[in-house]
Symmetry: C2
Subunit: 252 residues, 2 copies
DNA sequence: CACGAAATGTTAGTAATGAACATACAAATG
DNA sequence: CATTTGTATGTTCATTACTAACATTTCGTG
């Protein structure tokens, strides 16, 4: 039957992410190349795959949504963010209830988490979708208005939502850090949400790559003395190390 | 400069979604085909595009995330759903406040909506992300627990959230329709949310492809007499047409 | 200025593709 | 029951797009 084979072809592509024509022919020796070609044509029309020269790719595999979501933003400092994510993962224990903020650094941290029993709250739909691939997570989105710039949910509803939950550890991202203004971000509502989370969480962990240092953005949402751990990819400048020590903020 | 041109090529692809080699050559007459080819190769390695025979596509455009999210689901009826979506779009007017349910049919409808001043509430993070590409929309997510099976937000929080909002038109999807059990779906919490929305909305529009007819799923969430419009891709069987007439439900 | 490295251009061979036509089979029609 | 229609498939073949390999230019750096 035609549709059975098509589904089989589709499944194969979804599973592998990408197949060459030759592989397909090997898997389906009973039908001709042309038939498989036509199957691919069909699946492409259905929006399940893209045909590339010599084979086809699964669209699902391609859409590691990052590009879809933060469109114009450059892909910067991936390496640094990976380091930060790796450090942060060690702070989490199975069974905990954690909050993961929006932003690329936090999103990488989310992806680095091992599949274990965790309750995860996040205001980032993209992170939620990524997380949903690991079946042990219980995922909760804050809800509210979706801010296009940051792909973050904010506003009255988001805050209402958070009030009823308990958070063991909050992993927060930041737009900037300066000695004068502390941790700052560019959106009022996001700042408010961060403040609320920081107040509610047992433990607050800030994830920040060093490129954020010595800048300020409009809204201060916390300072070194209110957070418990600050994770960066490498050593901070001396004045920040001193400030952190004074504020009893652990550096990782 | 090489990087400038690459960025320009990338932007062009991101803007158009897809370009043919010939178009690229027309846009960049100063460089050879081969250079453009190498640019595409580079952009592909960066994860920004996929090269297809004869040109390239933007990954951002492809990540019509639907498949990323409903992974295992079989290939179904895209054509039918497109027809339904096209019909439904006509019911919406600028300035309205609408609810868009989760599910592939509703998601296609969402994508078919023209960019106009609309307040849109949805329990589907995927739909929210899709919608965020159209800048005139005000997008609101219900929040709550993310159900992996359906990629839908449900639960206490989602319902709390909805209570405070006013909806002009609700576009609802369904798992099945039968004469005995009415419209049914497979998840208790989703059924509850749908019920609530149907109660709150001024007008209720059901989007359903005909393959859903004559089946039942565990939870009934509404019946023909509670909805105002039922949109399908083609004529319904006679007994359903009669039932709809009796229930004063418009068929489109 | 000279040198190597990177970017670009040129060419030619090849492999993938799609169009056109042919066949087989099933369903619909008379 | 014969005929028609439609769908799925196979086969062939010309076209085209692609890559690899090599040649040339441009650029940056000592």
């Amino acid at each position: 039957m035609a549709t059975e084979r098509r589904n089989a072809v589709n499944e194969l592509i979804q599973k592998r992410g990408e197949v060459r024509m030759a592989e397909l022919e090997a898997c389906f020796p009973k039908v001709s190349t042309m038939t498989l070609r036509r199957d691919l044509e069909y699946l492409e029309r259905e929006g399940l795959i893209v045909r590339i020269r010599g084979g086809a790719k699964s669209i699902a595999h391609l859409s590691t949504i990052k590009e879809a979501a933060y469109p114009q933003r450059q892909v910067e400092n991936t390496a640094a963010k990976q380091i930060i994510a790796a450090k942060a993962v060690n702070l989490v224990e199975a069974g905990q209830s954690i909050y993961i903020d929006s932003g690329t650094t936090c999103s990488m941290f989310a992806q680095a988490l091992p599949d274990s029993a965790l309750f995860i709250l996040t205001p980032a739909p993209i992170t939620a979708i990524e997380l949903s691939k690991k079946p042990s997570f219980k995922i909760n989105l804050t809800g509210g208005h979706l801010n296009r710039e940051t792909m973050t949910l904010t506003g009255f509803n988001a805050q209402e939502h958070v009030r009823g939950l308990n958070i063991d550890i909050a992993f927060i991202g930041t737009g900037a850090l300066s000695l004068n203004n502390g941790f700052t971000c560019g959106d009022y509502y996001e700042a408010e949400l961060k403040k609320l989370i920081i107040r509610k969480a047992q433990r607050v962990v800030m994830l920040m790559d060093n490129s954020k240092i010595n800048f300020s953005m409009p809204y201060t949402f916390t300072r070194l003395n209110q957070i418990h751990v600050l994770i960066t990819e490498s050593e901070l400048p001396d004045e920040y190390v001193r400030a952190a020590q004074q504020a009893h903020c652990q550096l990782l």
